[in-house]
């Protein structure tokens, strides 16, 4: 399995961490960000989410984020998985795994990577509410 992926199917956080940890025995701190579908957005009740991406470009941007994280932070490895398609409330959407010798580096890299993902990755979220469907136009 690749460390950076976009996929329809769900992922296992444990398996993704194992994938990253397999790279080195010197990993002492792993920081994970998991984004999940929540039931409320701007006081609208959400029924379901639907994610679309720009195939090819989105994957390339996630790869870039991993490489820049490895260049700019003192981490050992990073994995990124983003789901597309229909996502129910409570389901996994996105996962970032940052592994380092020491925890501070892992925290910094993970926090940077999720912010950068939101900034540069061509992925779009549609919220399906009881009143209808709407493409989200701002950063959450």
């Amino acid at each position: 399995m690749e460390l950076v992926r976009i996929q329809k199917q769900d992922f296992s956080v444990t398996e993704e961490i194992e994938l990253v940890k397999a790279v080195s025995k010197s990993i002492g701190g792993v920081v994970v960000f998991l984004g999940t579908g929540r039931d409320i957005s701007k006081s609208e009740e959400i029924v379901r989410l639907d994610f679309e991406h720009y195939p090819g470009m989105a994957e390339k941007k996630l790869q870039e984020i991993r490489v820049r994280a490895l260049d700019n932070f003192n981490i050992i490895e990073m994995g990124i998985v983003h789901r597309i398609g229909k996502i129910e409330i409570g389901e996994n959407i996105v996962l970032i795994v940052a592994a380092a010798q020491h925890r501070n580096d892992a925290f910094m890299a993970c926090e940077w990577a999720i912010a950068e993902l939101k900034r540069i990755t061509p992925i779009w979220k549609k919220e399906i509410t009881k009143k209808g469907e709407v493409w989200v136009e701002e950063h959450p």
């Binding site: 989105a58 996105v94 999720i114 061509p122 779009w124 136009e137």
Partner: protein, 82 residues
Amino acid sequence: MVKIRFFAMLKNKVGQEEVKLDVPENISLEKFKQILKKEFPAITEFLDKKSIMISVNQEFATKNTMIKDGDEVALLPPFSGG
């Protein structure tokens, strides 16, 4: 011929995912936007607000990007992944 791709709400506005368009050789991004507005008046508002980004061959375009025959251009509304 330039392939133009629309995503998210832009796809809905235009009513198509992908359009092929004949454009003059080597035109600037600004010029290309003028053509888009004429061809797709439904998205003029988006192009004027500058809230959308444009990619050329899957890289973000800048003011200096030139568009040429065979390019894949995409209109990218504000991202909301993550």
